[in-house]
Amino acid sequence: MSSIKVELKQCEIDKIKEICQSFNNEPGELINVLHKAQGHFGYLPAEVQEEIALELKISVAKVYGVVTFYSFFTMLPKGLHPISICTGTACYVRGAEKVLDEFKRILNIQVGDTTKDGRFSLSCLRCVGACGLAPVVMIGEKVYGRVSPDGVKDILNEYS
């Protein structure tokens, strides 16, 4: 997993401390801490992980191991409008792949990447539980149902 270098400001370090403290610096709460930290920073760069390891008194390797194990956690910042294409089975049989290809084509990025201007990032997820609307695409919190490759452009236009 590649990563980028960041320098944490004092207030950011304080924020991490605060998050860890809200879970009593309990090593068993690592995953909850990471959820909160990602919610705050948007992603989990190495520097944030080091700080968390320090606070919870566990090794950085342990934190890194957990971060990389779960697909929900990311070490790269997402775009302003993160796009997630559902590739669950229901969406797959109703043509999610073609929709994904169209997003890739228009945005000219691969899954896991962010556009150069930082506006869109592309990822896949497995089933958002709206299989009745397959194929489903999520942009931020908004769910788009019954998306066809032809409709991709219109969806993206909503964000320009």
Binding site: V66, Y70, S71, T89, L125, R126, C131, G132, G145
Partner: protein, 592 residues
């Protein structure tokens, strides 16, 4: 009068929130807000026809409602008492509007036990749950039954785990109750990793209190005072409703210290998953709850002996819990009277894929696949031919037309080469390539294999590579043998259920659709026309007028030809993007 609006994830994505707002505003505008109550409920199940609005008490079921329909709905139905015909469900055969859900093919064969409250109550209001016998099972257990007597009721009901394995729930509770420990735990598995399944989510969104009540009963039975729900972070709405429900139960003294004046104390907290399928496996789930990587460990010891924090732990699925309170309220005999000899009660399925009525259904065990797909599901979309139905998700297999009369229960599905799984049911039609389907699932398991044991980590990758080769048209007959051999090795030697079941999609498609594999390997053709590498784009000379539209739009310049002359596609350059077919106005390009 009540207006029930579906607030499940599917309908919420189609603006059911706005429908509720508009309804409230419109009622207020007509000064009806005191007479008509608008309630957002859990999933009605009929997701295909969502958003659904139900008018009570006359039971009118409006489908595909949009925020723009609200004005008419209030003016006609509420004020003038006339049904809005265009918003009623249309019987696909007779084309007659149907207003009562009882008369719809989709609902007729269903029996709602686990989903009894979904779509009836406001999940964010504990009083509505209590009004439907909520928490009376807990009161009965605490007030009248010893833990062993309560366990005996569950044992007698024949309830088996709905998370996939089908282990008898009563026996699991009894085993856990026998181990002595200073602390025990009740865990609810709400990880629901099967892609394309949304049963557990719908229960938690539509009726969270039933799970809370059942967990408390379980705690009483095994002697645990702490409960944990492990829920996917991808389910924000379910998390929200569960949090509200827990808080309300605490305020009502139904969770916390000395519940209902007894000496029994119990409380529930939440743990979040972070997107790892293997965490649905109970030992992996426990490690994940402890803050580690969610890697499974060898059983025994089973969680019943050494689970969360090395203490005796019961892990049950959401739907399993949702069944528990009814068993106490209506009796073990009532429950055992539903279903087949070895599988009692009902099962919730998430019906999806190429089927007319996508949705959440609950049927008695023993219902045949035919009834589910053709009567409840309304048959295949666009009048296509039914090909297969996949049950059990990435661990399951494909069943075909020859299995249509098989009564669905744990043992029959395993005998047919699939499994119950948690309840995902994906229907496929003639356009789906079964080799590509097997590859799809392998892609999933390769992604989700935690990597701890080599048969699963390396073996599934090799399986996928062989399938890729076949899909590209480079497969040989030896590859098919290799698929079989490798599959049996992975099955026998993997550490946990993920690896042990990962080859099932391959094996079941080999068993049922060998002809498709042969077509890919020998004839280099994909009968369903889905595998790109095996497609060949060709110009039909008789139809081509030489308009050059295809050549101009080909991104790789694979098409040549003069104006007004027949064009030609160079297949060695063609990337099969389909741009030419889209542009051709004369149907002069075909895929072979």
């Amino acid at each position: 009068m009540h207006l029930l609006v579906c607030g499940g994830t599917g309908c919420k994505s189609s603006a059911s929130d706005t429908i509720v707002e508009n309804l409230k505003a419109e009622l207020e505008h007509n000064s009806l807000e005191d007479d008509v109550q608008v309630i957002m409920t859990g999933c009605f199940g009929f997701c295909e026809q969502g958003p659904v609005v139900k008018v009570m008490p006359d039971n009118t079921f409006y489908v595909r409602v949009t925020p723009g329909d609200v004005k008419e709905l209030v003016a006609e139905h509420i004020i003038k008492g006339r049904k809005v015909r265009r918003l009623l469900y249309e019987n696909p055969e007779t084309k007659e509007p149907v207003s009562d859900s009882k008369h719809m093919g989709f609902y007729r064969k269903q029996i709602r036990v686990a989903l009894r409250n979904c779509g009836f109550i406001n999940p964010e209001n504990i009083d509505e749950y209590i009004a439907r016998d909520g928490y009376s099972a807990l009161a009965k257990a605490l007030g009248e039954l010893s833990p062993q007597q309560a366990i005996d009721i569950i044992k007698k009901s024949g309830l088996r785990g709905r998370g996939g394995g089908g282990f008898p729930t009563g026996i699991k509770w009894e085993l856990t109750s026998k181990f002595e420990a200073d602390q025990k735990y009740v865990v609810c598995n709400a990880d629901e990793g099967d892609p394309g399944a949304f049963m557990d989510r719908s229960v938690l969104e539509g009726d969270p209190h039933s799970v809370i009540e059942a967990m408390a009963i379980c705690g009483y039975c095994i002697g645990a005072s702490k409960g944990l729900v492990y829920i996917r972070a991808e389910y924000p709405l379910a998390i929200e409703r569960l949090k509200i429900a827990i808080k309300q139960a605490q305020e009502y003294g139904l969770l916390g210290l000395d519940i209902l004046g007894s000496k029994f104390s119990f409380d529930i907290s939440l743990r979040y998953g972070a997107g790892a399928f293997v965490c649905g496996e109970e030992t992996a789930l426990i490690h994940s709850m402890e803050g580690h990587r969610g890697e499974p460990t060898v059983k025994p010891p089973f969680p019943a002996e050494s689970g969360y924090m090395k203490k005796p732990t019961v892990v049950n699925n959401v739907e399993t819990y949702a069944n528990v309170p009814v068993i106490f309220n209506k009796g073990a005999d009532w429950f055992a009277s539903i279903g087949t000899e070895k599988s009692k009660g009902t099962k919730v399925f998430a019906l999806a894929g190429k089927i007319n009525n996508v949705g959440l259904i609950e049927v008695p065990m023993g219902t045949s696949l035919k009834e589910v797909i053709f009567e409840i599901g309304g048959g295949i979309k666009n009048n296509k031919e039914f090909k297969a139905v996949q049950t059990g998700g990435p661990s399951g297999g494909c069943l075909t037309s020859k299995h249509l009369d098989t009564p669905i229960d744990y043992d029959n599905l395993i005998a047919s080469g699939s499994m119950m799984g948690s309840g995902g049911m994906i229907v496929m039609d003639e356009d789906d390539c079964m080799v590509a389907m097997a590859r799809y699932y392998l892609d999933f398991t390769v992604d989700e294999s935690c990597g701890k044991c080599s048969p699963c980590r390396i073996g599934t990758m090799r399986l996928k590579e062989i399938l890729d080769k076949i899909i590209k048209g480079d497969g040989t007959m030896e590859d098919i043998d290799r698929l079989r051999n490798l599959s049996s090795v992975i099955k026998d030697s993997s550490l946990c259920g993920l690896g042990q079941t990962a080859p099932n999609p391959v094996l079941s498609t080999l068993d049922n659709f060998m002809n498709e594999y042969l077509a890919h390997v020998k004839d280099k053709k994909c009968p369903a026309g889905r595998c790109k590498s095996l497609m060949i784009y060709k110009v039909i000379p008789e139809n081509c007028v030489g308009c050059t539209a295809c050549a101009r739009n080909c991104p790789v310049n694979a098409i040549s030809g003069e104006r007004k002359q027949t064009h030609f596609i160079d297949t060695s350059i063609c990337i099969k993007c389909g741009a030419c077919i889209e542009r051709c106005k004369f149907n002069a390009i075909v895929i072979n």
